[in-house]
Amino acid sequence: MIEVQGVGRSFTVGRRSARKTVHAVRDLSFTVGAGEFVGYLGPNGAGKSTTIKMLTGILAPTAGRIEVAGFDPARRRTALARRIGVVFGQRTTLWWDLPLRDSFELIRHLYKVDRVVFRERLEELSCLLGLESFMTTPVRQLSLGQRMRGDVTAALLHDPAVLVLDEPTIGLDVVSKAAMRDFLSRRNAEHGTTVLLTTHDLGDIERLCRRVMLIDHGRLTFDGTLDDLRATVPEEKSIEDVVARLYTGGTAPAAEPSG
């Protein structure tokens, strides 16, 4: 479902006099099969968001080849958009001044979803995520938890084959977090939606992801199951400590692509 081969993205920064090239991502390769639930980990600035932006067609890679749901994201951006759902935890993809219901209506038009199908899907999602009570509230007045549920709904109204989540649980309280995880895991199991998730919350990973990829300094440093990840640093007990060791030490083994 997602194929990434030798992908790199560099940025030129600075003014004419002191220009230099920064490699946000270099020589990245992995594949994600249909129906997988993959966690994408890495410290701040490691290249997670850059990867996600390339997968969704926002950024064009400067090297390598990407295919998501059969499309080259940068070249077939709008075709891909119908097959992919994206949630940015840090900012909303909804319209700040519009009530939630109007935002969804706009999305229906943008994705050309049939009215009847749309109503069914919205009803299902609204029931699962408990949106009824704030459906007519403008997005700017929603709490973070409500907004995030709205964003997830918005990303699923066109029933995408791939769901990309960039820190979907950031800032959520324990209850909202649990509800969100529960929802995502059911979505993956019942609809077979392929999910790629970035997070700093290792609880998300433990609860949801059968497979973990770790990126550091723009390179993939680990790709395997959660148990494999634990095994890389056997002396550490908790997954938090394992990941902390990997982030700081960089002692992870070379990438072993799986799946």
Partner: protein, 262 residues
């Protein structure tokens, strides 16, 4: 694209109808502020019978055609010059993940009644100016195509203004010099300006083709600068060329888009 634009504009309009007060105020004040321009023209004609050889109705005609063309493009595409704002907040990323042209989404963003103020004012001015000119039909036919070309020219300038912001995130003001500045410039007979400026807006940024050159035909005037007669019919060519340049620049901009951190 047109369908998407209309659908989104309609959804935005309906949504904005929920708090109509401020938006209607904005539309009315935009109408009123632009009317001050017309007041300025009247003040000028209190002191003189003609401006660079053009009478009151003729200057009003130039003003009306320029403003109508500008007003329609501003209504439809004026929002493009807010691109840098959307890039900074990450809103443009959001548009790129939707299955619709980012250009259309950007242009139509927050469409509401306040966008109608300027157009209405321009239409009123033109409606006042036209009877005073007493134009024969074999000249007047050129007015609708002339306004259409003007719309394309100003819209292309807005698109270029947006495209420039992919590179210069902090410089929408530079772009404004060409869009709003271009509007102000073409509201008066171009021969009130220096020859070099007129050459520039004829052959470099084709603002002279918004209304000046076609108006010379409509009013049957000799070109005060003695430029070739056929230029009066060159507006469609100028408009299409500029539109092609703008489309190319926008595509190149999206291709080079770097997004923001996080």
């Amino acid at each position: 694209m047109v369908r998407t634009y209309l659908l989104l504009a309609w959804t935005w309009l309906r949504a904005s109808a929920q708090y109509p007060g401020p938006l209607i105020t904005m539309a009315v004040s935009s109408f009123a502020i632009n009317m001050l321009d017309v007041l300025a023209i009247w003040v000028i004609f209190e002191h003189t019978r003609s401006l660079a050889g053009f009478g009151l109705s003729e200057v009003m005609f130039l003003y009306g055609t320029s403003s109508l063309a500008f007003g329609v493009s501003d209504m439809l595409f004026g929002n493009l010059d807010r691109l840098s704002q959307h890039i900074r907040t990450g809103g443009f990323d959001t548009m790129l993940i939707r299955p619709a042209s980012a250009f259309v989404q950007m242009a139509v963003d927050r469409f509401s009644v306040h966008r109608f103020g300027r157009v209405t004012q321009a239409a009123v001015v033109l409606a006042i100016a036209l009877p005073g000119l007493d134009l024969p039909w074999d000249r007047a036919w050129a007015i609708p195509p002339m306004i259409l070309c003007g719309i394309v020219i100003f819209s292309s300038l807005f698109a270029l203004a947006g495209a420039a912001q992919f590179l210069l995130t902090d410089a929408p003001e530079v772009a404004n010099a060409f869009t709003y500045g271009g509007n102000a410039l073409t509201q008066y007979p171009l021969n009130v300006y220096s020859r070099d400026l007129v050459r520039g807006v004829t052959f470099v940024v084709p603002l002279a083709f918004v209304n000046w050159q076609p108006t010379l035909f409509v009013l049957d005037r000799p070109d005060p600068l003695g430029l070739p007669y056929w230029l009066r019919f060159a507006s469609p060519l100028a408009a299409l060329t500029l539109a092609a340049v703008a489309a190319f620049a926008w595509r190149a901009g999206v291709r080079r888009y770097r997004s923001t951190g996080s």
